[in-house]
């Protein structure tokens, strides 16, 4: 595959230097988009890289050889170029124009051949211009014409394709049409593509690799999710903006903020809820029709059954209290009503059950953790009967149930695994499928298939094969006993107005949930590292927190997250601030890394969760190098490499 690299490249016209000492490598087989403000040198860079402009310093190297040291025609067999304003000769037909792309493959003696015919046919097929083949160019629309030009560049059959502003003068539909053609080409033929584009949002959507250029220098480059930030937009385009996930593509979407026409202080959540509930107050969920259809006006719930005292209640009676009154943690019987594979790494299971009427902390779940009981081989016996909403429990067991459970034969008791509540919808919520409350849990699938069997952690395997109708036991807060200060919620920003949220894929559900609650005045960064680009999900926040998804690809786990956090939280200037002391070491192989804080009165708060080794590194950086007050940070190891968690 062709590899094009600029090495300390300097470019300019006459005496003015436009690009100075720039080094750039176009990732082979990927789509690179070059963005920047007008006059930043992006087109000049493309001209330099495509041999149109002789460098005043440095070199452009194609597959190890300087492009200016090779015959133009040889280069043109490997490197195709579509300039900004090519000229269509009068009266030329589409097919003829596309055929001109074969020029580099023809010699003094080698004339038009069937190979050329084939290449032209392929190029026209790839761009959907076959039907136009005999039409004169002048009769075509702008989008069609641009597709024909791309077809010409394709007929050149090069491994590399450079396009300079291929969407200028096109309306939106045609812009997408053109970029889709290029994306298809990249996918099907593995062509390495570099495009100069002025539309940042389209660039972010279609790029594998985004290069932001400022004053002839690379300001940032990498995956769009990592490059497109409010800071970057501000620095490169000189414009304040909000960056939100593109609801269509999941890529970053830049919303420019001008001086006028900015909506202030609107509570989107509330409005949305009101609109959805169809009632102006919108605070009380309406009584679900299915439940209300019973004999009384009151929906059937656990209380009825409890007072009814049926056979489920342990016979001993004396010394036992209703779990509902006694236990902060209840065991809920849940049934899966939906299981959807969101992306290669995520599967969302939506649970429901009448028990959920007792679930919650009275407030938003934030990063509320629950435990799921993944059934083992045994089964049959309900080890959590006493913890069920209708259960009765001995005082000793209110705190001792876990110890008791550990006594049971592991093969029989199953596995306890910790997950976050991605969202909790009380009964009557318009998004619910049935009459009861519902919970979404997003499972990371770290499974592989061996001999036709799924192999992986038990929770992961369970989730991978979960189907509607499956039941499971969940341990979670009892709404009767737990308030918003429930210990299973760790996100406690206190009075901080600037926050940092960082985590890997297991923390993504918690972070997305937290983001939804943040008020408009809050600023800061959220970094979420996920395995692949496809795992990027839509996240919503009213706050000014900029959300960046970091698709890991082939990078080591945590590396991108680490870099992102380091760039967001700078090390104070030497001497200005006393950096913190080395935090005491935590051997993540032995203990769980769990150091939480909150409710402070500092302006900055950080919440970090994910693989313990990664979080440990971040902890060292933030506490020791950046000198962050530990009362302002929560570090949570959500899982450990090579270890099972409970």
């Amino acid at each position: 595959m062709a590899q094009l690299t600029a090495r300390s490249l300097s470019l300019g016209y006459d005496k003015s230097t436009i690009v100075a000492d720039l080094s750039l490598e176009l990732p082979a087989g990927e789509v690179t988009m070059i963005v920047g403000a007008n006059g930043c040198g992006k087109s000049t860079l493309l001209r330099g890289m495509s041999r149109l402009l002789k460098p005043s310093g440095g070199s452009v190297v194609l597959d190890g050889k300087d492009i200016h040291a090779q015959p133009a025609r040889e280069i043109a067999k490997v490197l195709g170029l579509l300039p900004q304003t090519p000229i269509a000769p009068d009266g030329i037909t589409v097919r003829e124009l596309v055929g001109r792309g074969r020029y580099p493959h023809q010699g003094w003696f080698r004339r038009w051949s069937s190979e050329d015919d084939d290449a032209v046919a392929r190029a026209m097929h790839a761009t959907g211009t076959e039907e136009l083949s005999d039409r004169p160019i002048d009769e075509l629309s702008g989008g069609q014409r641009q597709r024909v030009w791309i077809a010409m560049a394709l007929a050149q059959e090069t491994d590399l394709l450079l396009l300079d502003e291929p969407t200028t003068y096109l309306d939106v539909a045609h812009q997408l049409e053109v970029l889709d053609v290029v994306a298809d080409l990249n996918r099907r033929r593995n062509t390495t593509v570099a495009i100069v584009l002025h539309d940042l949002n389209l660039a972010a959507r279609y790029a594998d690799h985004l290069v932001a250029l400022k004053d002839g220098e690379i300001y940032a480059q990498g995956h769009p999710a990592a490059v497109v930030t409010e800071t970057m937009v501000h620095d490169v385009f000189g414009m304040p903006s909000r960056v939100i996930p593109d609801p269509v593509a999941g890529t970053p979407l830049v919303l420019p903020i001008g001086r006028n026409r900015v909506v202030r202080d609107i509570n989107h959540d509330e409005n949305a809820a009101r609109a959805a509930a169809g009632r102006p107050t919108g605070t009380l969920p309406p009584v679900p029709a299915a439940a209300a259809a019973g004999e009384g006006v009151r929906p059937a719930d656990g209380d009825d059954r409890q007072s009814g005292g049926d056979g489920v209640v342990p016979a001993e009676g004396a010394g036992l209290r209703p779990a509902l009154e006694a236990c902060p943690t209840l065991a809920y019987t849940l049934t899966a009503v939906a299981a959807t594979t969101l992306s290669p790494s995520y599967r969302r299971v939506t649970f429901t059950g009448e028990d959920l009427a007792h679930f919650g902390t009275g407030g938003h779940p934030l990063d509320l953790r629950i435990k799921l009981v993944i059934p083992g081989e045994g089964g049959g016996v309900d080890h959590f009967a006493a913890l069920r909403p209708d259960g009765r429990i001995a005082d000793a067991d209110v705190t001792g149930w876990y110890r008791n459970w550990l006594q049971i034969d592991p093969a029989e008791r199953g596995w306890l695994r910790t997950y976050s509540i991605r969202s909790f919808r009380p009964a009557g919520h318009p998004g619910n499928m049935g009459g009861h409350a519902e919970i979404d849990v997003d499972f990371v699938l770290h499974v592989k298939r061996e001999d036709g069997r799924l192999v992986g952690g038990p929770a992961s395997v369970w989730a991978a094969t979960a189907e509607p109708g499956d039941t499971i036991t969940m341990l979670g807060p009892n709404a009767n006993r737990c308030g918003p200060d429930y210990a299973g919620i760790e996100f406690r920003p206190g009075s901080a107005r600037r926050i940092l949220l960082a985590g890997d894929e297991t923390a993504a559900p918690a972070i997305c949930s937290i983001l939804e609650t943040l008020p408009p005045g809050m600023t800061g960064n959220a970094f979420i590292e996920v395995p692949t680009v496809d795992d990027i999900q839509g996240s919503f926040t009213r706050s000014g927190v900029s959300v960046q998804w970091l698709p890991r690809g082939s990078n080591p786990h945590g590396e991108m997250l680490d870099n992102a956090v380091r760039s967001a939280v700078a090390i104070p200037a030497a001497g200005a601030v006393v950096a913190g002391r080395e935090p005491e070491d935590i051997d993540v192989d032995e203990t769980i890394l769990w150091e939480t804080a909150g409710g402070g009165n500092q302006p900055f708060y950080a919440w970090l969760a994910g693989e313990a080794g990664t979080i440990k590194e971040l902890r060292r950086y933030l506490v020791r190098d950046a000198g962050m007050n530990r009362k302002q940070v929560s570090f949570m190891g959500y899982w450990r490499r090579g270890k099972s968690e409970m």
């Binding site: 149109l52 133009a72 025609r73 300039p83 900004q84 090519p86 000229i87 000769p89 009266g91 037909t93």
Partner: protein
């Protein structure tokens, strides 16, 4: 193939398939015939134009006073001597017609090369002064140094090239081929015409009479020797032009696109300028500047064929010169007008029209 032929009549679905295939191939047929449509038109127009050149050539040889009948012409060509006619046909009309056809073709090619290269129909060598550059150099060479034959052609070529390069660099290395370029060219042409006038008034009357055709090109002084000079030049230049046209087709797409396709834009452009000048100069050294043939041939051929085509331009150029010479010799009674006067009279209105139109389009740069 065989299999399908066997089963097709047997089963209904196969029938449906066959008919769909037939429809498909019919539509493909329609497609490619449409594709051939434009090519066919060019070829048809080319054939008609070639025919017109032949007819005009014969007409130029046989018509006039005295009229040569075709059987007499056949006799003459067979080598028999027809008294009173042989000399006129062999030493006068035939070489004149040959020079006219070749000169016209060369001018047509030269003009179309320039017009396409500079993307401006006004940018033909006669309008921008290249023709007068060649003529001035030729007249100087002839009057001052007594040059003739191929050497004269070479001097004409040098003169044309100097003017071409001068105009080219005055207009910012050819970056601007709009109004500015044309105006510089027209200025240079006017200046050179004055120089030519001056040179001719300074020489003795007999030589000046002979040299009159340098001001308005004509075929009157055509000889076999001069025809040979043009033929020699064309034998070299036409194949080169054919090669260059394939590159010009790429250059037409714009400098950047052409570079992207691996064309050395600067060298190609320089080569095309030299070629265009050479095509003009080789004829001008013989006939003088036959006004506006180079300028008219390309656009007229385009009008007829629907697109730029170099062969058609060459035929139109040849036809124009032959027709103009024929008209000048035969349509004005006793007076015989040089071909250049006729083409000038035809070309001037067209030039004005183009100038007015380009001004409206604001080609001021």
């Amino acid at each position: 193939m065989l299999k399908r032929a066997d089963t097709a009549p047997a089963t209904a679905p196969a029938d449906a398939n066959a008919s769909r295939e037939a429809a498909l191939s019919a539509s493909i047929g329609a497609d490619s015939s449409a594709a051939r449509g434009t090519g066919r038109r060019v070829r048809r127009v080319g054939a008609v134009l070639a025919g017109a050149v032949v007819v005009l050539f014969i007409a130029r040889v046989v018509l006039g006073s005295p009229v040569v009948y075709l059987d007499q012409l056949a006799q003459i060509l067979a080598g028999e001597t027809v008294p009173g006619l042989s000399f006129i046909v062999l030493e006068h009309r035939l070489p004149a017609a040959s020079v006219g056809a070749m000169a016209g073709a060369a001018l047509g090619l030269s003009g179309t090369v320039f017009q396409t290269l500079l993307r401006n129909p006004l940018a033909s060598p006669d309008v921008i002064g290249v023709g007068y550059g060649a003529a001035t150099a030729a007249v100087t060479g002839m009057l001052a140094f007594g040059l003739a034959g191929p050497l004269l052609s070479a001097v004409a070529f040098a003169g044309g090239l100097v003017v071409a390069l001068f105009v080219y660099f005055m207009a910012d290395s050819g970056k601007h081929t709009g109004g500015r370029f044309i105006l510089i060219g027209i200025g240079v042409a006017a200046m050179l015409q004055a120089v030519l006038n001056y040179l001719l008034t300074r020489t003795d009357v007999r030589a000046a009479g002979d040299a009159l055709h340098w001001l308005v090109g004509s075929l009157s002084s055509s000889t076999w020797e001069r025809a040979g000079t043009i033929l020699l030049s064309l034998v070299v230049l036409v194949p080169l032009t054919a090669l260059a046209v394939s590159k010009l087709k790429i250059l037409e797409l714009g400098d950047d696109a052409a570079s992207g396709l691996g064309l050395d834009v600067r060298r190609t452009r320089a080569a095309l300028v030299v070629l265009g000048v050479a095509l003009s100069a080789c004829t001008i050294a013989v006939t003088g500047p036959i006004a506006f043939v180079a300028f008219l041939a390309g656009p007229l051929a385009r009008l007829l064929a629907g697109r730029t085509n170099f062969a058609c331009s060459a035929f139109v150029g040849a036809a124009l010169v032959l027709a103009a010479d024929f008209a000048g010799a035969n349509l004005f009674g006793d007076i015989s007008l040089p071909a250049g006067v006729i083409t000038g009279a035809l070309g001037a209105p067209f030039l004005l029209w183009l100038l007015v139109r380009s001004n409206k389009q604001g080609m001021g740069g």
